[in-house]
Structure formats: C-alpha cells, structure tokens
Symmetry: C2
C-alpha cells in the first residue's frame, strides 16, 4: 500500500483539477450575464486563468504517473451536484457564489495542502492564489448594494445557503475518501485540531461576507 | 475627417475583439458537450486562448485612443444574430462550426488585414493564428465519420448552412460600415478584385470541408 500522502496527493490534485474545470465553466457562464462588455471580458479572463491552473495540476498528476481523468472522476458527481443545486440566477448571485463559495473551498484546500510535502504544497497554494476575482466581486456587489439596499438581504441569504450546501457536500466527499480523511486527522493532530480548522475556515468566510457588505 | 484606414482599423479591431469574445463563449459552451474530461479541458484551453487575443486587440484600440466597448458595440447585434441562428446541437456540430465557420471568418479578416499598415496588420494576423483547434476538430470529426458514415451527410448540410448564414451576415455588416467597404474596394483594386477575394475564401472553405471528410 502506498503511503497515505501519495494517495491523498492524487485525491487533492484530482479534486482541484476538476474544481478548476468547473470554475472555468461557471465563470464563462456568468460572463454572459455581465451588464457590460467590459465586465463580460473581465470574467472571461478569470475563467481563462482557471484553465491555466487546471493544466498545471493535470501536468503534475501525469508526472506522478496518475491519469488525470481517473484522478478527477471520483469527484465529478459531487461537484456537479453542488453546482447544479446552487446555480446563480443573476449576475450578482454569480459574483457572490464565486467569491464566497470558491473562497471557502480555497481555504479548505489550502489547509489540506499545508499537510503535504513540496512541491505539491507549493503548487496547490499557487493555483489557489487569487486571480483578481475578489477585488472585482467586492467592488461590483458593494456598488449594487449602494444603489439598492434591498439587494443585501437577498444576497446574504444566498451566501448562507451556499455555505450550507458546501459543508454538506464536502463532508460527504471526505467520508468517501479515506486517504483524505486520514490526512486531515493526522495533519491536524486530533479531533480538536479538526475543530480549530473548521473555526479558521468559518472566520475567513465571515470576513468575506462582511467585505461584500453582507450579514454573515 | 480621419483617413479611411484609421476608421477601418478601429472597425476591424472592434469586430475582431467582439468576435474573440463570442468565440470564447461558444468554445466554453461547446466544452460542456465534450464526450470526455480531456476533450472538455482541450476546448476550454482554446477558449482561454481567444480571451488572450481579445485583450491584445482591446489594448491596441486603447493605444489608438478608441474606447474598446464603443468599437465593439456596432457589431454585437450582427454577430449575436449569426450565432443564435447557428447554435450547434451536438458536440460534432460545434466542432464543425468552430473549424469551418471561424476558418471562413479568419480568412476574410486576414484579407482585410492585408490592406492595413503595420503594426495592425501583424497584430490581426497574429491573433488569427490557429490555436490548435484545426487539428483537434479534424481528428474528432474524421473519427466520428469513420465510426458512423451517416454522420457525414448531416454535417455537410450543416457546413453549407453555416457558410450561407455567414455570407449573408457579413454582407450586411460591410454594407453598414462604409470605411470597411471602402478599404475592401480600394485594397482589392476594383470589383473584379473583390470577386477574386471571394473566390480565394471559397476555395479555402472547400479545402476545410474536404479535410473534415465532408462534401463541400
């Protein structure tokens, strides 16, 4: 049996590679809801950055002798279900989903990456680096709220729904992937370490909601 | 009044910048119809390349003191109408549209670019350079026809419909943009020069249909 880290690395790179592919999809789709050609092009450019990340991850998987499609496959259904159940119906919902939802996911992946050896730790942190989306989303959402206060309540509800769905889905994914679960337990030390990890992620989420001007 | 070339340059860069934005959209949409994760990622990567081109064109427009959105705006409706009326319903139709349709458009833009001074001629030729799509499309379509001969007839009809629509739309666009029309007439020399231009474009189109294994 290969050491836990190796299988966990393939799991983490696989789920991230597929996450980047779906991020591309969603940003490309959201781009079409943009109120201006400039906004549309800005989102398309961010989508393009995600695809660059996707190929860095699949290149690393190939280097490790892992077939990228096989590494992504186990996560396709969970991620697709999450996105189907949280499909934005407006430009602003799309922005909040990408900023709040992807932000939460990125925090979680970053925590796990911290338990990995190099070069995989660096690679994961690198592809999770912000592509300029955060500033863009915060600016657009705050401007929309300034123009119409009633927007804030609806978007706050939407943000809370996103977190709920994300938490449910990610617990299911971890439960099905023993190497990932073992890595998290051994990396954090014990269950109270897992508790602190979740607390860090929750605090960062609260900060992002506030940055948008939304009640967490 | 500015010399014909200047307005024609803004027109050409504007229509191309918007064409790249729609190319991104369509490739991203077609990627979702891909039969495999590898095909989906390959198409997403090509979409990303188009956005890179888009930003090179808008940067040049800004350099010329032209607002990119203003330069694109006059072409939005014509291009959107073309794409709405030729929306692929299968993965193979998408491939044929991108290879045959975009190939035809690229030939046409290249002919016009030949009449422009540098650096715009070089820029246009550069962003129109193949992004690896041609080989990919030819391989996929030929493989599909080899597996099921009946596919060829339907796709050939689809290819002919694309050209018909493209010709109708582009004539309408040129008729509405005097600087473009004047540049084409003065560039080709006279009406028989325009005739030869159309003949060159038609021949290249025929070659592409044959490369796919389709009756032109």
């Amino acid at each position: 049996m290969p050491p836990v880290e190796n299988t966990a690395v393939a799991d983490l790179l696989g789920v991230l590679a597929y996450a980047e592919l779906t991020a591309f999809d969603r940003l490309a789709e959201d781009a079409r809801m943009a109120p201006s050609l400039t906004g549309r092009a800005a989102l398309a450019r961010m989508a393009a950055a995600e695809i660059g990340h996707h190929f860095r991850l699949t290149a690393r998987l190939e280097e490790l002798g892992v077939d990228p499609s096989a590494a992504m496959e186990p996560f396709v259904s969970a991620l697709d279900t999450f996105h189907e159940s949280t499909r934005p119906s407006t430009w602003l919902e799309g922005l909040v989903k990408a900023y709040v939802g992807d932000g939460l996911a990125a925090d979680f992946y970053r925590e796990i990456a911290g338990f990995l050896p190099e070069p995989d730790r660096g690679l994961v942190l690198d592809v999770l680096a912000d592509t300029g989306y955060a500033d863009f989303a915060v600016r657009e959402v705050r401007a929309a709220i300034a123009a119409d206060r009633s927007v804030a309540g609806r978007l706050a509800l939407w943000g809370r729904r996103l977190v709920g769905e994300a938490m449910t889905r990610s617990q299911a994914v971890i439960a099905e992937h023993d190497p990932l679960a073992e890595l998290i337990i051994s990396g954090t030390g014990d269950l109270s370490g897992v508790g602190r990890l979740i607390e860090r992620i929750t605090q960062a989420h609260t900060a992002r909601m506030k940055a948008l001007g939304l009640n967490p």
